[in-house]
């Protein structure tokens, strides 16, 4: 909306759902059940206006005493008392009857008070009963009177109204909604015994906005933070960012692997390493970020499976000194517990981290834990992964995602229920191969976009103090190389006969 006079709410993340703000003098109806955060939102709207945009404001309350409003605001770091002393804020306690009469009068004392401090914003907490709870013509009319009074003074107003039905996903609309210019619904949604807060902009006259239910949190010491839902479209540039550099590759850090994948992973590519637990996926991830640090490139490892201390210990066991690289600011390791992940919040954290740290390499360990947390049945996981892939591509990051495939021997599918292999550029299958009395480790490049792939299963080994390497073919040691077997990724590999047919799994047989 170029050229229009937009009022920035100043509430973190909310203006991003709108084209930067709300048209001035809009009447904004904030609906929600008890405890949904209506008062906090209204008070923050006025506080941010006074403190950040030099727009004095008025808060009108009917039930909560102003000293409690001030006390609660102080918990968010908002010093309302100071703003009142400076004459930039007024908190007025009144009754609904008085307010209704006041706003009908041309010489309203309330509006006169607003004019004295040059108020541009007003928050009225609890207008529901002001206009009557029964959806009658009278209540509509009373609300109309209220909005007219506010618009006469060119005040941008937030009016909080209690709507208990919103906690039950009801589509019941209030009569005030048709009169208000902007309608925002706050909800508390049950999610598997947890509760999360959501915000939805239902309408906003004169502007486009991001529809749908977005997550928000009320954060001690800060206030409200809105997190755009992960499915919502980002900048158009993000999806177009796959216009990657078609030549530059980053080394995998696994000796022998780069040769198989034509020199490394393409910049901006998405790689999934799939295999059962213990097969070496995290080791590969650690070597990948250590290789980045060796080359002076920043790397980020996000773990949902292991805490940071454990990751440092694991790295040390394969000769990688992560603390040194962390101190040099070349590597960052982040852990987030997978319980009760709020996907919008989590994605926002990753987005902020990526933008701030600017890594060239990212390892995410693991997709299967996201699947357990978010569920693979609905769209949430897929949309989250899609957004993650788009973010990494936009930032031209080589991203490696570990994925736990539950099959110990052989693989019937690459990604199981995670139907998203089409979003992935490269898939590396890590598989145990039972030969004779030992499990040997096989690696198969199942997919590599824009690369010729031989799909040969290569043998790997993980050595204490050194990490993983892909063994050469043929093997230097006195063992039959994988090339002498058939069906390595099946559950029953067989030795090849001279005419190419299998003869049995016994490694010692000739």
């Amino acid at each position: 909306m170029p050229g229009s006079d937009l009022v920035r709410t100043g509430i973190a993340g909310l203006d991003d759902l709108l084209p930067g703000g709300i048209p001035r003098s809009n009447v904004i109806l904030v609906e929600g059940a008890i405890g949904a955060g209506k008062t906090t939102m209204g008070v923050e709207f006025v506080y941010r206006g006074v403190s950040e945009f030099d727009e004095p404001g008025i808060i009108v309350v009917f039930e909560v005493s102003p000293d409690k409003i001030m006390r609660d605001a102080a918990g968010f770091g908002w010093d309302l008392r100071k703003l009142e002393k400076q004459g930039r804020l007024k908190i007025v306690f009144t009754t609904r009857d008085v307010l209704r009469q006041e706003l009908q009068q041309a010489d309203s004392v309330l509006l006169d008070e607003a004019a004295k401090i040059g108020a541009r914003r007003i928050f009225i907490d609890g207008v529901g009963r002001l206009v009557g709870g029964n959806h009658t013509v009278e209540s509509r009319s009373a609300f109309h009177v209220l909005t007219e009074g506010l618009q006469r003074e060119n005040l941008t107003a937030i009016l909080a109204v209690e709507a208990s039905s919103l906690n039950e996903n009801s589509a019941l609309s209030l009569p005030e909604e048709s009169i208000a210019d902007t309608v925002i619904r706050l909800r508390m949604e049950d999610a598997q015994r947890a509760v999360s807060r959501s915000i939805e902009i239902v309408k906003s006259r004169g502007q486009d906005f991001q529809m749908g239910r977005h997550t928000f949190r009320i954060v001690d010491g800060r206030g409200i933070h809105v997190y755009r839902r992960v499915q919502a479209p980002r900048k158009p540039s993000r999806d177009r960012a796959a216009a990657f550099d078609p030549n530059t590759r980053l080394s995998s850090g696994i000796p022998g692997l780069d040769e198989i994948i034509n020199g490394g992973y393409f910049v901006g590519s998405t790689t999934v390493v799939a295999g059962i637990s213990g097969v070496g996926k995290s080791v590969m991830g650690l070597q990948f970020i250590a290789e980045g640090a060796r080359r002076g490139e920043r790397s980020l490892m996000l773990s949902l499976d292991e805490q940071v201390e454990q990751i440092l210990r694991n790295a040390a066991s394969i000769g990688i000194d992560l603390p040194v690289q962390i101190r040099k600011d070349l590597i960052r390791v982040e852990y987030e517990p997978p319980q009760e992940i709020e996907v919008d919040v989590h994605f926002h954290h990753i987005e902020e981290l990526v933008k701030e740290f600017k890594p060239k390499r990212v390892v995410i360990d693991s997709l299967s834990t996201y699947g357990s947390s978010l569920g693979t049945g609905g769209r949430v996981f897929r949309d989250f992964f899609h957004a993650l892939v788009a973010l990494m591509k936009e930032q031209q990051i080589v991203a490696v995602y570990n994925h736990e495939n539950p099959e110990m021997l052989g693989m019937n599918s690459m990604m199981g229920d995670f139907a998203m292999s089409s979003l992935v550029d490269n898939i590396i299958l890590m598989n145990w191969v039972e030969l004779g009395d030992s499990f040997r480790l096989g690696m198969t490049i199942a997919k590599m976009r824009a690369n010729p792939v031989d799909r040969i299963t290569h043998e790997c080994e993980v050595t204490n103090g050194k990490g993983m390497r892909v063994l050469p073919r043929p093997l230097a040691v006195n063992r039959k190389p994988f090339s002498t077997y058939a069906g390595l990724v099946s559950r029953a590999p067989e030795r090849r006969s001279r005419n190419g047919e299998g003869t049995g799994p016994n490694e010692s047989s000739d």
Partner: protein
């Protein structure tokens, strides 16, 4: 030895002491704010490198303004969590009530407390009386006394049933008002204030009876 930062509240004359319980240099320890009025001292606290997480509030601990002056070092033994004696408190209440002549009874005290919690109210006098639970006449008298005493401002617009009442805390009696409100915020303090007000009223009543008898005798 314990370093104690002290500053004096401009309005109340009450002293604020901050005592870092840990090394003041490290700024990691907790700080005890012995006398409240945290809003007034917020800037100073921040200037010392503390934030609200470092603070423990002990509002019942009263220090005579003359006890400490400026920043100094004191033995931990000088610190005490004991509340001030009731005699001191009662003396203080007497002093404050003498200064704030508008507070003459429970109605005025309750009006003051209400207005402190709602410093800017837009209400009709009926509503104000209903909120406080007193009859209209008493409330009207209390309001007039407050306005006369410079404690309250009121809009005058006969066309409106409601008036805007604004408590004046930064007036000449602001310090005393704050002190009295602080005392009235505790159960014991309120009880002591009401008892003194009641005693004052009964003394006045006794005086009045004696005066009547004297007048009757003269007649």
């Amino acid at each position: 030895m314990l370093t104690i930062h002290t500053i004096q509240c401009a309005s109340t004359g009450v002293l604020c002491c901050l005592s870092p319980l840990d090394s003041p240099q490290s700024r990691t320890g907790q700080v005890t704010l012995i006398w409240a009025e945290i809003e007034s001292f917020g800037m100073q606290i921040a200037a010392w490198g503390y934030n609200q997480e470092h603070l423990i509030f002990r509002v019942n601990w009263y220090i005579r303004p003359t006890a400490f002056q400026g920043s100094a070092k004191f033995d931990r033994g000088m610190m005490s969590d004991k509340p001030s004696s009731s005699r001191e408190r009662i003396e203080e209440i007497k002093r404050l009530l003498t200064q704030i002549s508008a507070i003459r009874g429970a109605c005025e005290l309750d009006l003051l407390v209400f207005l402190h919690r709602h410093p800017r109210v837009l209400l009709t006098s009926d509503q104000l009386a209903a909120f406080l639970g007193y009859d209209m006449k008493k409330i009207a008298n209390a309001i007039e006394a407050f306005i006369d005493g410079g404690l309250l401002e009121r809009t005058q617009n006969p066309a409106h049933a409601a008036r805007l009442y604004v408590l004046v805390l930064d007036g000449p009696q602001g310090g005393e008002l704050t002190g009295l409100l602080k005392l009235a915020s505790t159960r014991q303090g309120r009880h002591d204030i009401l008892e003194l007000l009641g005693r004052g009223q009964s003394e006045t009543a006794v005086d009045s009876v004696q005066e009547n008898r004297r007048l009757h005798a003269i007649a």
